[in-house]
């Protein structure tokens, strides 16, 4: 979940300062790679998007379902279907002259299907996840595009015939059929309007898809746009896009082979599709704007284990860079053997500072999923949910972010109860395990009564629901819960500090430490500095700290493995992400049940932030990215397999070096080679530098390129810092 967003960049090329010097010969590796630029019609579309022009169409009257649902005494599944129908009907047809892929939402918020009091009664004694509706899963887009909705409708009809004596199944299948009809009616209205506007190109496509199987790339993109957008109309959110280059490539390949489209034409269409994902995204729910889970996966192996990298993998990376928008959020599956060509293209996308691609390591993730009970073929087919959590498109009804454990709280409570009791360090570790187990048990207890509302339309798009006559909310092949192991580095550092000073060196008395923690170090800054500056820290390939990191994840895995059934026939899958918990665990949040902590034994004062997912604790000095990779490679990812990226921030000034793209590509390869699981490389922009000025203590490791040399940003005098910021502001393309 992005808390701070980088603004999209209009012209990413100007971001590379080296290209700004005319007539200078550059040994730039990127010269070998072709560039993609938006054609004028799309430049205009992007401008309109950025300026919010598509919001002007949101004039449809608000849909209100409650009266009719009550009058007809509709069941929950029927109401969910009615919601899809009424929302589809409420959409005005919007076809702008520059559009070749259509659908613009004309309604604002999604109405409830029950009054609050009704819903409370119906769900009493149950737990809802977040907002309630099914979210954060991924449809079987391959199936939807290759079969078409009419074929799905036939499946529903035949299941209804077969299951006619099962009223629940019949009700579900009727609801599913209603949603299919609603989507097809909407497509038909678009087709008719296109005809009236003499947009016969569009009409032809929309008369065909999503009803029929897509027969070319353009149809496939249009079908996906419409079917995906309708999910959001039904109140679903964090709706993933899955393995895009796998399910889309057959259509594009056929077009290219038959000469029906050229690469540039395909790229422009794809760019339009990417832009279209930003039309309505401000209406999508999330913790922060942009936290909308439109994740798109590229690369990796096919279900049979052979390489799935294809021309579209490359095209999508190029187009994402050229489009320069925050959606879709690109993910790339890699191994240590992934070709540098592909990694360099990805690094060029990293360069423009959008914060993606995010990389996952197939060599680690696939066996990890298999170890968690996934079929090998399904494991090979993994994608990610909204942030980083692994899921199987079309086959999983998992709640990948059911909650988090507060690792700092588990450690802190162990220290505060173990030290006064005169416990050994081993005994303190046992307490940490007990605390983690109790946090997981609380989550398990609460969500053993999880209620997932019926989702007939999502069921149409999933694998097997219509065939079985059972709503996706009742479960699929995979039904696990994912738990974030939040803020692990601070927790490990706290343990390492206690072990080093209190137990090994005996240079710190338990009482002094406990007093300092109780008083937020107000009277013992000397101790705080000692804990913060001199204790071993995760991220330095220092076994004293890394062993604690490994241990704490081991205890977390033990805790999750102690729950054999989550109440839905699934497991508890432990991960290493933090999501927003790196703020929440430090400062509290009204919706949060995980325990907050005060001052901690790693020398962090009360309220201080934690690091995001896997990254060294904020403000501690670390040796650099190689040591960071080595530290985090020690976690047993066969047991910790819910995702949660190692997060590396590099200054965008790194890219002043003509070989930087190649070197960043090598860094990505290195991440895979050392056996880490997931990686995010962020290129820092000027906003981050300003933040570093305000809080230099948190950004000691921020390296900037100053001239033919690099320095620590915070060691530069303010005037020089301002100079760099100044130069950078000028370097920033205007939005």
């Amino acid at each position: 979940m992005n808390i701070v967003l980088n603004e999209p960049i209009t012209n990413p090329r100007s971001k590379t300062p080296t290209t700004a010097i005319d007539g200078v010969e550059l040994n730039n590796h990127s010269g070998a790679r072709s560039r993609f630029e938006l054609e004028p019609r799309l430049v205009e579309m992007k401008r309109a998007l950025r300026e919010g022009h598509y919001k002007q169409y949101r004039t449809s009257p608000e849909v209100d379902l409650l009266a009719e649902c009550d009058a007809e005494q509709l069941s929950w599944p029927q109401r969910a279907a009615r919601l899809i129908r009424r929302m589809c009907e409420a959409q005005e047809v919007v076809i702008r002259p520059e559009e070749r892929i259509v659908f613009t939402r004309t309604t604002g918020k999604v109405p409830p299907v029950y009054r609050e009091s009704q819903q409370r009664d119906l769900t009493s004694g149950c737990a809802l996840h977040e907002l309630g509706p099914i979210s954060n899963i991924c449809a079987d887009w391959e199936m939807v595009l290759s079969q078409g909705l009419l074929s799905r409708r036939k499946v529903a009809l035949s299941s209804r015939e077969r299951l006619k004596n099962d009223p629940q199944a019949v009700e579900f299948l009727n609801s599913a059929i209603e949603t299919i009809d609603a989507v097809l009616d909407l497509a038909c209205r678009y087709a008719e309007e296109a005809s009236r506007n003499h947009r016969h190109d569009l009409a032809k496509i929309l008369y065909r898809v999503p009803a029929q199987p897509a027969s070319n790339f353009h149809e496939a993109l249009q079908a996906l746009r419409l079917c995906h957008a309708v999910l959001w109309l039904g109140g679903h959110y964090h709706c993933g896009l899955g393995r895009f280059d796998q399910y889309m490539w057959p259509y594009l390949k056929k077009d290219l082979d038959l000469g029906r489209i050229d690469v540039n034409g395909a790229e422009q269409l794809l760019a339009e599709f990417f832009l279209s994902l930003n039309k309505d995204s401000d209406l999508y729910p999330g913790i922060q704007q942009g936290d909308n889970g439109q994740s798109l996966m590229l690369g990796g192996v096919k279900r049979d284990g052979s390489s799935g990298v294809n021309e579209l993998t490359y095209i999508a990376l190029r187009v994402a860079r050229g489009a320069g928008m925050i959606d879709p959020k690109i993910n790339l599956r890699v191994t240590k053997d992934t070709s540098l060509d592909l990694l360099e293209l990805a690094a060029e996308l990293t360069q423009i500072g959008l914060g993606f691609p995010q990389y996952s390591n197939d060599d680690v993730v696939i066996p990890g999923l298999v170890a968690h009970g996934y079929d090998l073929e399904d494991a090979r087919d993994y994608s990610v949910a909204a942030c980083w959590e692994f899921l199987i498109p079309g086959r999983g009804m998992e709640v990948v972010n059911i909650g988090a454990v507060s690792m700092p709280a588990a450690v802190d409570a162990a220290i505060r109860s173990g030290l006064p009791a005169g416990d050994s360090f081993e005994q303190i570790l046992v307490l940490v395990g007990t605390n983690l187990r109790s946090q997981v048990a609380k989550l398990a207890e609460r969500f053993s009564r999880l209620f997932l509302p019926p989702a007939p339309y999502y069921s149409v798009l999933m694998n097997g629901c219509l065939e079985r006559g059972s709503d996706v909310s009742h479960g699929l092949n995979y039904n696990s819960f994912g738990v974030h192991g939040a803020c692990s580095s601070n927790a490990a550092d706290a343990l390492a500090a206690v072990k080093t000073f209190v137990f090994d060196k005996r240079s710190l008395s338990s009482q002094r430490l406990l007093d300092a923690l109780d008083t937020n170090f107000e009277h013992d800054e000397v101790l705080r500095r000692k804990l913060f500056d001199e204790a071993p820290k995760v991220g330095n390939d220092d076994v004293r700290a890394d062993a604690m990191l490994v241990k704490i994840f081991e205890l977390f895995a033990d805790a999750c493995e102690s729950i054999s059934d989550n109440g839905r026939g699934g497991i508890f899958r432990p991960g290493s992400g933090s999501a927003m918990f790196y703020v929440w665990l430090a400062q509290g949040h009204e919706t949060m049940t995980e325990p907050v902590v005060g001052a901690t034994a790693d020398g962090r004062k009360r309220g201080g932030f934690f690091s995001s997912s896997l990254a060294p604790s904020p403000g501690v000095r670390v040796r650099g990215p190689f040591s960071v990779l080595k530290s985090y490679s020690k976690i047993d990812y066969q047991r910790i397999c819910n995702g949660g990226p190692l997060t590396l921030e590099v200054s965008d000034m790194v890219f002043r070096n003509p070989e930087a793209v190649h070197q960043v590509a090598l860094l990505i390869r290195l991440f895979a080679a050392v056996g880490c699981q997931q990686l995010q490389i962020n290129t820092l922009n000027v906003e981050s530098l300003k933040e570093a000025q305000l809080h230099p203590e948190l950004h000691k490791n921020l390296v900037v390129r100053v001239w033919g040399w690099s320095g620590y940003f915070c060691e530069l005098d303010e005037a020089y810092q301002n100079q760099i910021i100044g130069r950078h502001i000028y370097g920033e393309p205007t939005l």
């Binding site: 990215p625 040591s627 790194v654 070197q663 100053v706 033919g708 020089y720």
Partner: protein, 251 residues
């Protein structure tokens, strides 16, 4: 076993050579270039830097084995990353014997020596011969100007350049473009004439001056006293090199 003083070890030093590298900054330098951006590298003694993020000790003693062990712990990563170790400074050859001892223990990692070229011939020979690539600075060909702006005579540097050429170790010439001092047509042409025809020469890197060079002086308790006009832009003149048939780039 010898002991040396290091003021920084930087991982992912993307500007210090090919591939993924770790750069070791050795403390102590005989030159006093008025544009020096690493003032903490000048004194051979450890010193405390006081910046906005607090204090940091610049200068840690390592035995050659301890330093080599630290670098070798990254060996596998550096090989995957098609890179190696860069020794910079300060002037790394001030600690040539220590450095040679470290390199001997590096298990054949790719070594890049980043040097001003100012060292006695034996020291230079000893380390350059066991390096795979040398970044060799050429600042000013005019010896009077060199003395005035760097504090030392350039004759040993020019001699070591010839030694380097004889050794057959590949090298890159690095020229800081200091406004009005090193970036003049006369100086750049003289540099081009000096290096033209040397078989080991890979290319010439021009490094435009950046106004932030003086940033760390206050933290070191030193005064930044440039002998040139800082506000001027570097003159990026490639033709001197191109006309001599030399490969040149700006970094």
């Amino acid at each position: 076993m010898l002991t040396g003083v290091v003021f920084d070890i930087k991982e992912f030093a993307v500007h210090d050579g090919p591939g993924l590298r770790v750069t070791v900054f050795l403390k102590g330098c005989p030159l006093r270039c008025s544009w020096c951006h690493n003032p903490e590298g000048q004194s051979p003694e450890p010193q405390v830097l006081r910046g906005s993020a607090g204090e940091r000790l610049a200068g840690v003693s390592f035995t050659s084995q301890a330093l080599a062990d630290r670098l070798c712990s990254l060996a596998e990563l550096l090989r995957v990353g098609e890179g190696g170790v860069t020794f910079s400074g300060g002037e790394p050859l001030v600690q040539a014997d220590f450095l040679a001892e470290v390199i001997d223990q590096l298990d054949h990692l790719h070594v890049l020596l980043d040097t001003s070229g100012y060292a006695d011939e034996n020291s230079f020979r000893k380390v350059a011969a066991i390096s795979q690539l040398v970044y060799f600075d050429l600042k000013l060909i005019d010896s009077v100007a060199h003395q005035a702006h760097t504090g030392v005579d350039n004759q040993p540097i020019l001699r070591n350049l010839r030694v380097l050429n004889e050794l057959g170790v590949p090298f890159v010439i690095r020229v800081p473009l200091i406004p009005g001092l090193t970036d003049t047509e006369a100086n750049l042409s003289a540099i081009a004439r000096t290096v033209a025809g040397m078989p080991g020469l890979q290319r010439i890197d021009l490094l435009p001056y950046n106004i932030a060079a003086g940033a760390k002086y206050a933290a070191c308790g030193m005064a930044f006293q440039p002998t040139f006009d800082e506000s001027e832009k570097s003159n990026i003149n490639l033709s001197c090199f191109k006309s001599a048939g030399l490969k040149v780039r700006v970094v």
